[in-house]
Amino acid sequence: EPKRALDDEMLEQLEELLIASDMGVDIALRVTANMAEGRYGKLLSATEIKSLLASEITRVMEPVARPLPIYPKTPQVVLVVGVNGSGKTTTIGKLSSQFRAAGKKVVIAAGDTFRAAAVEQLQVWGDRAGVPVLTAPEGSDPAALAYDAMVKAEADGADLLMIDTAGRLQNRADLMEELAKIVRVIRKKDPDAPHNTLLVLDATTGQNALRQVELFGQMADVSGLVMTKLDGTAKGGVLVALADKFGLPIHAIGVGEQIDDLQPFDPEEFADALVGLERN
């Protein structure tokens, strides 16, 4: 493999590679600068450069690669939030299936009482995962449903209660307040709940993901992230900016529409894909 001296032109190309992954300009500059430190003018092959960049990214991502923690106290309440169409309902189906396979007793609450056929969609996922789905009529109060679901989950001796919510954009104050209300009502039943609040992000989303994490974090105390749709060509580079800025754990990634298409977040694999490095 031919080698080239690491110079400004090459650094600019590397920055662009990272920017094209949705990493954002600031962090792309920082990652390349860190990588280049002490190496300026050195002869490097393309693979060497990509490996160096990938290690730099892996270093940032390793601390946030953590599976969803499971607590001894039951029912553990997992609230799932995010903007419209990001993949919340599908992710609940996939997670429920995994937890059930791990021997957990899971209950799902269909907290999206707004979108057309949201409940029917979740019921299909419940069937696929072999998990009961608690529902309320369209248009009813999602906070009340969440509360009832907690009572039911406790009575049934469930280990986990997964609560789906309607998609909402983080700049919609009214809808964000509705979410805050769900959290408040849940806490009336159990002051420690929700024990996890998962924000589901779509990998095709650009820099707006930063606003999503910031505002959902403020209104709903987000405790971890899931990124979906990483089976496409979107690289999800914004996760690096998010790890840098918020340090929230990334619990899983979605890589398809089927029930098994959910994987743990692997920092090294993610970094390799991001810089286009193929390891043999």
Binding site: G24, G87, Q121, Q123, V124, L169, D202, G206, Q207, R211
Partner: protein
């Protein structure tokens, strides 16, 4: 984080103007700031690059370098160029729905807003143009996708093609055509399953639907929050299926909407509508001025 372009540029030019008249190099420095602003607004990299090249020619003229307010001059040039690019050539006019029944095919990535937009457009055609519209869901993939469209149809008072389990998308498209012809519909809308642009099987399926339906319009529905991937989505959907226009959804969010520029540049097709919410009336025609200002944070 999202410093707006005027602020960015005034910072640069304050530094530069201390040395007297601007050189072409100075303008280039300023354009690097423009580039960063575009990238932060989620304009795809290759699109940002070619856009800057266009602007550079216009911005290195005497009107800018000799100006006492070079920063504002550059902002104006960038802004005007952005509007011109977003508008494109020729008036896209109304949706082509002459020759009833006119098929409209809706395509896009998973979760981009196809089903919602199908219903919004159907309602708009019914309410504003008095059209008799039939909606059909060809989504045999996503759980309850067909029910979703049927419920929306009931809400807005637009007919949906009865659901027949077991049919594939091509069969449903044919049945929609027959039904629309027999029952005197003006327009029939084909909502399709979300698909990735690199999913060869599903893209081929959409192309097969296109071939039987011969749509008068094929609208690519794109999430307005899309980042750098916009360039791939636009390229592949336009190459493999062929689109006649774009709808940008979730423009009620606080995203900067750079995907609008990417879509327009890559497909060369007009952006027809923007989605501004989940409700059935939350759709408007595309206005380049508004999106340009938004991309620049002005």
């Amino acid at each position: 984080m999202f410093e707006n372009l005027s602020e960015r540029l005034s910072g640069v030019f304050d530094r530069l103007t201390k040395q007297g008249a601007l050189s072409e190099d100075d303008v280039r420095t300023a354009l690097r700031e423009v580039r960063v602003a575009l990238l932060e607004a989620d304009v795809s990299l290759p699109v940002a690059r070619s856009f800057i090249k266009n602007v550079e020619k216009k911005a290195t003229g005497a009107a800018v370098t000799k100006s006492i307010t070079p920063g504002q001059q550059v902002v104006k040039i960038v802004h005007d160029e952005l509007i011109a690019t977003l508008r494109g050539e020729g008036d896209p006019g109304k949706l082509k729905i002459d020759n009833p029944p006119a098929p409209i095919l809706m395509v896009g990535l998973q979760g981009s807003g196809k089903t919602t937009t199908t219903a919004k457009l159907a309602k708009r055609l019914k309410d504003r143009e008095g059209k008799k519209v039939l909606m059909a869901s060809l989504d045999t993939n996503r759980p309850a996708a067909m029910e979703q469209l049927a419920i929306l149809g009931t809400q807005i008072g637009v007919d949906t093609l009865p659901i027949v389990p077991g049919e594939d998308p091509v069969q449903i498209a044919k049945r929609a055509n027959t039904q629309a012809s027999l029952a005197g519909y003006d327009v029939y809308m084909l909502d399709t399953a979300g698909r990735l642009h690199i999913d060869e099987e599903l893209i081929a399926q959409a192309a097969a639907v296109r071939d039987v339906a011969n749509p008068r319009e094929t609208l690519l529905v794109v999430d307005g929050l899309t980042g750098q991937d916009a360039v791939n989505v636009a390229t592949e959907f336009d190459d493999k299926i062929g689109v006649s226009g774009v709808v940008l959804t979730r423009m009620d969010g606080d995203g900067r909407g750079g995907a609008a520029l990417s879509m327009r540049e890559i497909t060369g097709k007009p952006i027809r509508f923007v989605g501004l919410g989940e409700k059935m009336d939350a759709i408007e025609t595309f206005e380049p001025e508004r999106i340009a200002g938004r991309i620049l944070g002005m």
